[in-house]
């Protein structure tokens, strides 16, 4: 999956943020300009994605979560 997305980053033009769920994982990739909003929240229990922090405020343990924005043109993937 990570390999395919790296190829896609070269092939695709325009603004995009992709989220893909697989049987045992979850991934995020943004275009190189990255002006579409994207926020991640990570704890030991989960990884969550939203277009803004407000969408994540009711998650359990959000106060202690690591909240960050994905870098442009960078492939992130998590597996169970």
């Amino acid at each position: 999956m990570v390999k395919h997305w790296r190829v896609a980053l070269d092939d695709l033009d325009g603004f995009f943020t992709f989220l893909v769920g697989t049987k045992d994982g979850f991934g995020v990739v943004r275009d190189p300009i990255a002006c579409k909003p994207a926020v991640m929240a990570e704890t030991d229990q989960y990884v969550a994605f939203g277009s803004e922090y407000r969408a994540l405020v009711n998650l359990p343990g959000i106060e202690e979560a690591r909240v960050w924005e994905p870098e442009p043109a960078t492939v992130y993937f998590w597996t169970h």
């Binding site: 300009i33 990255a34 002006c35 909003p37 926020v39 803004e52 922090y53 407000r54 969408a55 994540l56 405020v57 909240v67 960050w68 924005e69 870098e71 442009p72």
Partner: protein, 227 residues
């Protein structure tokens, strides 16, 4: 100290209450609880009051601020302090995209990292970031000072005019028509004052200065590819 529960009382009530404060107000200190990433908190203030927001904020916190001091005890969403005119905004955590965009004056302090496009089209605001800034920061920045105690991302200062950009760490790449400039005594003095006001212990001598190479001010066909 006046306490305002944003969840219970609502955003419109908060902002109209803060707008009602005038220069002579005796209610100078406000605390906002339960912000929970709400948008447009404390925008358009025009009084010498202090607003402490206990938690993280959403889009456009403190936009158009005049005179007020706003402290965000959390992180801030996109467009924080956009078009600020005067006063001071301090973000304890990180700031999302285009913090301080188009700001005309005042001081924005980000104690964590700032995301992409920090200080885009800044017009006189001072911004001090204790951590790193993302790509395309200070794009078309016209005046004011952007101080970065950490690293800067790609295309710093692309097509900038006369803003001064100070970076202590590395710069991933410079944007079109941005170059490293000589650090003169007056720049060290500016840095010293801004770092002190932003509560940073970084030393002015550790920074490099970047600014416009002034090659794109007037149209030149040989530069067509860079416009």
């Amino acid at each position: 100290m006046q306490t305002f529960d944003l969840e219970a009382q609502g955003l419109r009530e908060l902002n109209s209450t803060l707008h009602a404060q005038v220069k002579e107000t005796n209610q100078t200190s406000w605390e906002v609880i339960n912000p929970k990433g709400s948008h447009a908190i404390a925008v358009g203030l025009d009084a010498p009051i202090e607003v402490n927001i206990k938690g993280s904020t959403g889009y456009y916190c403190g936009g158009m601020n005049k005179q007020a001091t706003i402290n965000v005890l959390g992180s801030a969403g996109p467009g924080t302090a956009e078009n600020m005119m005067s006063g001071k905004i301090v973000i304890d955590g990180d700031a999302s995209q285009y913090a301080g965009a188009t700001g005309h004056g005042g001081l924005l302090v980000i104690k964590g990292n700032a995301s992409s496009r920090c200080g885009i089209s800044m017009k006189g605001i001072n911004i001090v970031v204790h951590g790193n800034i993302g790509h395309m920061s200070a794009f078309m920045a016209q005046s004011g000072n952007l101080v970065v105690c950490g690293d800067a991302g790609d295309a710093l200062g692309d097509s900038c005019y006369e803003a001064r950009l100070f970076v202590r760490g590395s710069v991933k790449s410079l944007g079109a028509d941005c170059e490293e400039k000589e650090m003169r005594p007056e720049h060290l003095e500016i840095l010293k004052e801004l770092l002190a006001e932003a509560d940073s212990d970084a030393k002015p001598e550790e920074f490099k200065r970047y600014g416009s190479a002034r090659n794109l001010y007037n149209f030149d066909v040989d530069n067509a590819a860079a416009y």
